[in-house]
């Protein structure tokens, strides 16, 4: 039974309350459901998943979202801190018994277990060690037992068997020395205690180090304010963020963090979105503009209406996406997974084999004791955790690091693939360029003034939704040019537009369109060609069959595109431009920013084919586009990068989403990817080498050559260190700095 709190929207009367309550109460498993009309919330006692409750409310015609309980992350941190302290206490208790036993034992100060007084002492030590096994190692034993019942074996199995064997063998010596050969009468209570001390201490350190690997997600969670200033019935109050409901009006004052996603309804301000997008320049916002939770209001106070709350905000979705990506595994980790899955039973078999080998072939007088020691050491030294951790822990840090740079990586595979790319295809508009065309020049063919040409062109274009048309209409608005009435408007796909103004046929469009209509453009052709070579798009205006002028529109290149492309070259990538624009403009843009190859005049539907063409040539291709128009090409590429400005970019559409509009994000991700993959390889190599060398050494393969058999306590220390080393190595990725 649990209590679920839901925020509701669309509730306007007591009738709505009754309908929602009925819808909830009709769900199987719901014990009670009450709706609070004032708060617009529902409280449900049930065994039913939240999603089912939300759907039931949705089916009744309303919207609902779960209200988050207490701060999940701080609760998690508190629980982890408690666990950390518990591990340290366990280590301390085990060490307090094991260490003196070890030191006095080495000094020869402990009594002989075969003496009657000595036996009593060792019996007391045995009982004390049993207590340590229960307190410091109880969780290993219970875990091992539960796993075994479920036909599984894990780390706990190995530790429980290793320390358990030490205790049972030692107690056997104390209880009945005559059962064991004289040469084998050595108690290993201190080994059991010290192994538990080391493993618990190692686990505590590992937990601390692991905490650092999730710093990126904690930073994102920290962006969420705890309270919001809500205006309800004309009264302003600060309320907990969980109580904000859809359509609430919220006030944001200078310097405050925005609480939920919404739309500005009054006031304007500049907002710092850098914490989400990595874009350092604040964004100007006015009524009608969207604001997102977690960003900071710089100046100005404004009111906005809540449109997305709780887990639906862009920030919450980004956090969830980073979380999921952080815990996904790339192909590189699959082998380790396969090994991990069969590792522990295999080690158990090796341990039995080790015992039998020593028992049968060991030095006659020491065979039993060496068999016991070697078996114990094999069980203790084997560390499946280092293998299992090697990949996910580095992915966790790598994905988090990418998020700090405003790049959302969908999963571990995308992160791995990004580092292997050798070609980057860039869409032109909005990727290399700003994506906001503007009028740059107006050239008259003779008697018409610039203002006249703009008036007629804008009058024609005001009915069009094309970006070039928008540029012309914006220019006429800026210059406050009054427009004329256009009739019989027709758009000619890919060519231009035509209409009738003041009874005359007016055509505005490309050189192709003028040729098709047999309009002579000789008077302005040379000027138009020069504009094309400067990466501008000239549009010819003809009235009653005579060309009267040219309006040139250009989409400015982003300030840092050239530098970002040089950086891509610097890390060994070939850069290709892919655009629907004409060859001359595309070539001019490519030349200005240093792009190696151009595919011009490619229709949107053919872009994916161009990506495939390069892949057939053996290239590993990354495609960078806006994520909506370029979706097929992004999907076809080995890695698709959706580039956008701010959090509006469709985060569902690509392998990697660059929230900052800069192409530097591509290099950032590729560099992070390469470093992460190198880190994973180091971890996997370390973990495989550790286990493949450690287990045979523990089993005693060096004994015939050197006469040395590994001490089980050293094995315990090595085991604790192995996973700690993996985590610490992954933590090095936190210090990555972009070269751009």
């Amino acid at each position: 039974m649990k209590t679920t709190r839901l925020s509701l929207s669309g509730i306007s009367c007591a009738g709505c309350v009754a309908r929602v309550e009925t819808a909830l109460n009709n769900v199987d498993g719901v014990i009670s459901a009450t709706v609070n009309f004032a708060e617009r919330t529902a409280t449900v006692e049930s065994d039913v998943p939240t999603e089912v409750l939300v759907k039931a409310i949705g089916d009744a015609g309303y919207e609902a979202a779960e209200l988050r309980g207490a701060d999940d992350e701080s609760e998690k941190e508190a629980a982890e801190m408690a666990h950390y302290r518990k591990l340290l206490r366990k280590a301390f208790v085990a060490g307090s018994l094991g260490l003196p036993l070890f030191v006095f034992g080495m000094s020869g100060l402990l009594p002989d277990p075969e003496d009657s007084s000595g036996r009593l002492f060792w019996l007391a030590v045995g009982v004390a060690t049993f207590g340590v096994l229960i307190y410091s190692g109880g969780h290993f034993f219970s875990g091992a037992w539960k796993s075994a019942k479920n036909h599984n074996a894990n780390m706990d199995t190995l530790i429980a068997l290793g320390t358990g064997t030490a205790w049972v063998f030692s107690m056997a010596i104390v209880a009945g020395p005559e059962w064991v050969p004289a040469s084998a009468r050595h108690a290993y209570f201190e080994a059991a205690a010290i192994i538990l001390a080391l493993i618990n201490f190692g686990a505590a350190l590992e937990m601390r180090a692991r905490g650092k690997t999730s710093e990126a997600i904690k930073r994102l969670i920290g962006l969420q304010p705890k309270t919001a200033r809500v205006i309800r019935s004309g009264v302003e109050t600060d309320i907990a963020i969980e109580l904000v409901v859809l359509d609430d009006t919220l006030r944001v004052r200078p310097g405050e963090r925005i609480a939920v996603d919404g739309v500005i309804i009054d006031g304007h301000s500049s907002i710092d979105e850098s914490m989400l997008t990595g874009e350092p320049v604040p964004v100007q916002k006015r009524p009608g503009d969207k604001v997102v939770a977690g960003t900071i209001n710089k100046q100005g106070s404004f009111l906005f209406q809540a449109r997305r709350i709780g887990k639906d905000t862009a920030l919450a979705q980004i956090i969830e996406m980073v979380r999921v990506a952080q815990s996904s595994k790339p192909a590189i980790g699959r082998l380790a997974d396969k090994v991990s899955a069969v590792f522990v039973p295999s080690v158990l078999i090796v341990a039995v084999g080790t015992f039998l080998a020593w028992f049968n072939f060991g030095p006659a007088e020491q065979a039993t004791v060496l068999a016991i020691v070697a078996t114990m050491t094999v069980l203790i030294i084997a560390c499946p955790c280092a293998l299992g951790l090697a990949t996910p822990i580095s992915i966790m840090v790598g994905v988090g690091k990418a998020a700090e740079f405003g790049a959302l990586v969908r999963n571990g595979d995308a992160l791995q693939q990004a580092g292997r790319l050798d070609t980057i295809i860039l869409d032109k508009t909005g990727t290399v360029t700003e994506g906001k065309p503007s009028v740059t020049r107006i050239i008259s063919a003779g008697s018409w003034s610039e203002e006249e040409i703009l008036r007629w062109a804008a009058s024609l274009e005001k009915g069009s939704e094309h970006p070039l048309a928008e540029a012309i209409v914006n220019a006429s608005n800026d210059r406050q040019v009054p427009l004329l009435e256009a009739e019989r408007f027709t758009a000619i796909a890919g060519r231009g537009v035509e209409a009738s103004i003041e009874g005359r046929l007016v055509v505005l469009g490309s050189r192709h369109l003028m040729h098709e209509r047999d309009i002579d453009i000789g008077a302005v052709e040379a000027a138009a060609t020069t504009l094309t070579q400067k990466a501008q798009t000239p549009m010819f205006l003809a009235v009653a069959g005579q060309v009267v002028g040219v309006i040139s529109v250009a989409d400015g290149i982003k300030k840092d595109s050239g530098e970002a492309i040089r950086r891509l070259h610097g890390i060994g990538l070939r850069v290709v431009l892919l655009t629907g624009d004409n060859e001359a403009t595309a070539t001019a843009v490519a030349k200005e920013v240093g792009i190696d190859q151009v595919f011009a005049e490619v229709l949107p539907r053919d872009k994916a084919d161009k990506v495939a063409e390069l892949q057939r040539q053996g290239r590993r291709v990354g495609m960078v586009g806006d994520g909506i128009n370029d979706a097929p090409a992004l999907a076809q590429a080995d890695v698709g990068f959706a580039i956008g400005t701010g959090t509006d970019v469709a985060i569902e559409s690509a392998d990697i989403t660059l929230m900052r509009g800069s192409l530097h994000g591509v290099s950032d991700v590729i560099e992070i990817s390469r470093k992460t993959v190198r880190n994973i390889k180091q971890n996997l190599f370390g973990a495989f080498v550790y286990n493949t060398l450690g287990i045979p050494v523990a089993a005693g393969v060096l004994f015939p050559l050197t006469g040395i058999l590994l001490n089980p306590m050293i094995a315990g220390g090595a085991m604790a260190m192995s996973s700690l080393t993996v985590v610490s190595n992954a933590n090095r990725l936190r210090f990555f700095k972009a070269k751009g």
Binding site: H151, A203, M207, D337, V352
Partner: protein, 119 residues
């Protein structure tokens, strides 16, 4: 005689390990209702083998008692599901298997293991 007994014991033990951990599986618990509770504690999922109806939605309600970071997530690799499990809280995971078959769920490090048997 001791030598023979010890060796025989060793061989039997190896055979038992192979049989117990690799050749036999835990008895599946049938998901009687639409929700089934799974306890995450002591390095295990209990129950670890769950029988569900193929293609039908079932809610698995995980309860994580284990504070170890190993228990932090449950991963259904074949189904593309990866969910964080809060400590001492219920977490519902809605699952619809694509068809009949066995789908494993594990912790991130593949040490905690369980499986859904869709029939």
């Amino acid at each position: 005689m001791t030598v023979i007994l010890v060796n025989l014991g060793g061989v039997i033990l190896v055979a038992f390990i192979v049989w117990w951990f690799w050749m036999t599986k835990a008895k599946a618990q049938r998901a009687g209702t639409s929700t089934i509770d799974i306890l995450v504690d002591g390095g295990t999922f209990t129950p670890s083998r769950i029988e569900v109806a193929a293609g039908k939605e079932v809610a698995l309600r995980f309860f994580r008692k284990d504070a170890s970071p190993c228990a932090e997530r449950v991963v259904f690799d074949e189904l593309g599901i990866n969910v964080e499990l809060p400590i001492d809280q219920h977490k519902d995971v809605l699952i619809t298997t694509p068809g009949a078959g066995e789908f494993s769920f594990t912790c991130q490090m593949q040490m905690y293991r369980g499986s859904l048997v869709a029939k």
